[in-house]
């Protein structure tokens, strides 16, 4: 049991030492086909591209705005309980969160329309897991300190419990259209196939123990809490049965859910790129405007009501004839009746975490043209079209907003991009968000003939001591790209 708890604890913090959904390095890095997934209206130059299945886009991100692994587990000789007290309980607030996102591209293909060369179509499938857990400050304090001692009279906010997570497989089809030399727009339709989803995001209530009106203490609780789960029970039941076919059953259920056999949803992305002048471009996109209707394998848990108790109370003469000696059980029953814990299987709609990107980019340092000599670049590549490929350098800023259970989570990025011929392109970013103020990222895109490889690493300064990082992300992938008919 102890090992189990420890394992969960280590995995928990280990998982979150990796890092949020902002992909500032990939955004508008239009040499990489996957940038189309962040802005359907990005300028495309390929004739076609094919992602290497499963290897075309892998990204892992994890973040903690509060404590890091190193804060707790550094071998520094400080008492562990003291570290938890000072660095977690005293330091973290209900706004702090642990979040983790991972994405694996199953396949991803794009091609330019034969009859409409201004259109670039792309489609594919990717799996995404996204989990965010806000620090339940008051509940943690209640568990650590209890309601007694100095906490007499303190109201513990049950609304501090807020978490959300899902694993979803996404099938998508997008169209990118060059409207003019200055404007490119795009949209992508998405079909979501949910593997599982859980959320407990609109909790409210309080628990308080204070001097009673009659007895020494009165404990009062008001609760309106709910945990909704979809697709979780199916996996839990298989694990709980623990038969010789457990692995097979899990695989079968997972495959079924991935391939549209679970709860389904719809969504879309949209975006554009617009040249303010030949060297200045603005872009914006909105991603995952969509929902999943959860109707299968639902298990919801609720705790709603209010109760107050001063313990067993006897008032004479009113209770003189009450010879019931099971007053304790009566008290427990009264509380459970006033504050019922219930389960139901009502379907619910879960919204996808909407993301918005915006950027402004200034290109400078015209190339010598050799970089374009052999690429047979597509319709967006001609000079005057504002394609940054003819410039060696780009500098600009990006804004990222993401809808989270407790509001909009913003991030601001400044970037510089350097193109070294047609084979190598580098992008470096500095990002400020709730996880880090020292997030410097570096991305590399290498084009070796038709083979494209990219790797993007975030928060590089933290690599000096990964365990002390509040945020880390790594994305990489392989593609085959063609710019011409050869």
């Amino acid at each position: 049991m102890r090992k189990g708890i420890r394992l969960i604890f280590v995995i928990w913090f280990g998982m979150h030492a990796l890092c949020a959904q902002n992909k500032q390095l990939l955004y508008d890095f239009n040499e990489i086909p996957q940038s189309l997934m962040l802005n359907p209206g990005v300028k495309t130059s390929e004739k076609w591209h094919v992602g290497i299945p499963v290897l075309s886009g892998l990204s892992f991100q994890a973040g903690t705005s509060g404590v890091t692994v190193n804060d707790l587990f550094a071998d520094d000789g400080i008492d562990f309980t003291t570290k938890v007290r000072e660095r977690v309980l005293d330091a973290m607030t209900r706004k702090d969160d642990f979040s983790s996102t991972s994405q694996i591209e199953g396949f991803y293909v794009g091609f330019r329309g034969r009859n409409r060369p201004d259109d670039y179509y792309s489609f594919g499938m990717y799996g995404e897991t996204d989990i965010i857990v806000y620090w339940p400050k008051d509940l943690a304090l209640l568990a650590f300190e209890g309601n007694g001692g100095d906490n007499i009279g303190r109201s513990f906010d049950l609304g501090d419990l807020s978490l959300r997570g899902e694993m979803v497989n996404v099938f998508h089809f997008g169209v990118n259209r060059k409207i003019s030399n200055d404007l490119t727009v795009g949209a992508r339709a998405k079909l979501y196939s949910s593997v599982f989803q859980f959320q407990s995001i609109h909790n409210a209530g309080s628990f308080r123990t204070s001097p009673g009106q009659n007895n020494v203490y009165v404990s009062s609780m008001v609760a309106d809490m709910q945990l909704q789960t979809a697709g979780v029970k199916g996996f839990y039941d298989i694990l709980d049965e623990d038969t010789s076919t457990t692995t097979k059953d899990l695989t079968r259920l997972f495959t079924k859910r991935v391939l549209l056999g679970g709860n389904l949803g719809l969504g879309f992305d949209a975006g554009f790129s617009y040249n303010l002048n030949p060297q200045t471009t603005i872009t914006a996109s909105v991603l995952d405007v969509g929902f999943i209707y959860n109707s299968k394998d639902i298990q919801n848990y609720t705790l709603r009501g209010n109760a107050s108790t001063e313990g067993i109370t006897v008032f004479l003469p009113e209770d003189i004839n009450d010879v019931n000696n099971d007053l304790w059980q009566e008290l427990v029953d009264d509380i459970e009746e006033s504050l019922p814990y219930e389960e139901n299987s009502s379907g619910y709609i879960s919204l996808r975490p909407v993301k918005v990107y915006g950027s402004i980019r200034y290109d400078f340092g015209e190339g010598d043209g050799r970089s374009l000599e052999n690429c047979g670049c597509g319709v967006n590549m001609e000079r005057g079209g504002g394609m940054s490929g003819i410039y060696r350098n780009s500098v600009g800023g990006q804004l990222f907003l993401m809808k989270r259970p407790r509001g909009i989570q913003p991030a601001l990025t400044g970037f510089y991009q350097k193109r070294l011929g047609r084979t190598l392109s580098l992008k470096t970013t500095y990002t400020v968000d709730k996880y880090s103020w020292t997030n410097i990222g570096l991305g590399l895109n290498l084009q070796a003939g038709p083979v494209n490889f990219y790797v993007l690493g975030d928060n590089l300064l933290s690599y000096r001591n990964v365990a002390d990082s509040h945020y880390a992300s790594l994305q990489f992938g392989f593609n085959i790209i063609s710019w011409n008919d050869n």
Binding site: F80, F144, N147, G149, N215, I312, V314, L316, W328
Partner: protein, 184 residues
């Protein structure tokens, strides 16, 4: 050729940077040292009686006697984790009676594990308080974890005719506890 070499060098440096990440030594076994010992507070039992009820019990009579199941302490989760605790009693008597109140802690077989007795004087000007500590240096914690029921009795140690001059005379026994648990 020179250009290609430079580009590969840049790529190499980049990869080296990513792969050469390091971490200070971490000791995950520290989790075993985590100590979580919350203090839980709760009201336990409250008894209130007016003077008329006491008088109705007659001279030197028992005006209240009740045995109530009380499994709060010996619930498995509580019994395994209880480290120490203090039960706080408060007595207020504005009746004209001298009263004796007794709380007996009984195990599941009805055996008396502990007794807490109070003799309260009539028309007490102040609230009488008593703290009883269970744990190291105090009474045995086993008393609490094996308590299955409480036998509470209130007796009149005076006559059954006198009436207090205070308005709404009553005797009130209140009790609450603070317990230290080890969750981890």
């Amino acid at each position: 050729m020179k250009g290609l070499f430079c580009r590969l060098l840049v790529a190499l440096i980049f990869f080296s940077f990513l792969l050469n990440s390091c971490s200070e030594k971490q000791d995950f076994d520290q989790f075993e040292d985590l100590s979580i010992t919350p203090t839980l507070a709760s009201g336990i039992f409250y008894l209130e009686s007016d003077e008329a009820t006491i008088n109705a019990a007659g001279d030197v009579g028992v005006f209240y006697a009740q045995t109530v199941n009380f499994d709060a302490f010996n619930e498995e989760f509580v019994a395994e984790r209880l480290l120490e605790g203090t039960i706080h009693y408060e007595l207020e008597n504005t009746t004209s009676k001298r009263l004796g109140i007794t709380i007996e802690f009984l195990d599941e077989n009805g055996n008396v594990l502990d007794v807490e007795s109070f003799t309260v004087e009539p028309n007490m000007p102040e609230v009488f308080t008593r703290d009883v500590f269970y744990g190291p240096g105090g009474k045995s914690i086993d008393i609490l974890v094996t308590t299955s029921s409480l036998r509470i009795s209130g007796g009149n140690l005076s006559d059954s005719t006198s009436v207090s001059s205070t308005s709404d005379p009553k005797v009130k026994l209140s009790s609450g506890a603070e317990f230290l648990f080890r969750l981890k």
